[in-house]
Amino acid sequence: MVEIVLNSTNGGVEGGAASNAMPGLCLLVDDSSLVRKIARKIFIGLGFETDEAENGQVALEKCQRRMPDVVLLDWNMPVMDGLEFLKSLRHTEGGRQPAVIFCTTETDVDHIQRALANGANEYLMKPFDQDSLVAKLDMVYYRK
């Protein structure tokens, strides 16, 4: 596992192992503000820049303006759900680039299989914590 150390006391010193090179923009797509808050805290701690969307429609518009490097994606959302967003994203110009991690309470085989078949890079089951999230980033982002 890649150890990401963000040392705030370092100030401007760009000495951290992988932290200065890798992290980019992460788009947090979830209708739960609590989930976005928890994820934001973790991603910022890992050195990412974050943006947020409360449904797939808003997320798609944000992607068209600026393509993120990582998308953390909920399944059930009003207006446009995560799977619809993913399908549209992968057909958008530059939309094959982001590492998409589904992040949902849906844990059955059918959901996992449909997510992967439609271009999800990984699948994280809620509840998540820093360790389980970093393990997924390690598989689909840091190692790329």
Binding site: S33, I38, D108, Y123
Partner: protein, 337 residues
Amino acid sequence: MSVDEVVKSRTIADSALATMQRLEVPASPANYAIWYEYHAGQSPNLQRTIDVLISNDASFNESTLQDLYATFFSSAKEAQAVRETSMHALKTLQEIVGVADLASDDAHDFGNTLRGIASNGLGRSLGNLKNLIEDLVEETQSMAGRSEYVGLRMRESAGKIEALERNLENAILDSTLDGLTGVSNRRAFDNVIRRLAGEAMNSGDDLAMLMIDIDHFKRVNDTWGHQTGDTVLRYLAMTLQKAVRGGDHVARYGGEEFAVILPRTDGEAAVSVAENIRTALAKEPLTLDVTPPLTPITVSIGAACYEPGDPLADWVGRADAALYSAKRDGRDRVELN
């Protein structure tokens, strides 16, 4: 099959059996086909889906296994390749387990082991079930090692293995319940807290847990024997179920320790549920015709609330720590962490 193919199949079969054992998957033909295919590597989608389940610590319960089979073994797309592989798989399994030769002592022992497993009251508890599967796999593997001498013959073992599979499938259905007390067992508890914590993370609703331990339980066992100890455990389980509310979950966490999961409950409300439990025990004591007379049963209780974003183990750990404080501070009390 060529010799190379047989050796390759055997290697895959060994890996499949080992993985099934590790993940506590019952040894049915359908499950075996899934795990054979997983290790054979002919179906990347099956592999990725299973890797997702494993990396999320998901439990391979009956419904997940059925879904895997239905998704990957009956869809038209991958059906052909997978069907061929599963035929190989089943044939190899039959070769391994079906080498029973009635004239051989090995086979006789194997048959007895199967009989023993089948008549063993099958899987009252998960630990029991796990032991049974371990026995089966161990016996199967040691038979496989001797099969060159015994020769490839299918005999009465086929019928017994089928019966065993049926029994194991029934056993796994029961395996969410604790055999002694009838409340959820540890495995079911782990699944319930995961599901409820996921929902709480989405909704922001409160979620609390009580860890409950019988005071001086060792003394009960030492003074009045284990049968009385078992009666005390059943009495507490019943009292807990009566004292909690509709959506709450009671589980036997292990030994004389129980857990109650309380959805939409904050710390203060959790403590009042815990106090209700203590009151219920005092109001309706267990009466048994034993000498010396049974002393009143009391419990120590630790309460803790789920913090979304924290590991589940931290939550359980905080409830345990509160329970420990309650014990240290004199027992028969409630602590909130």
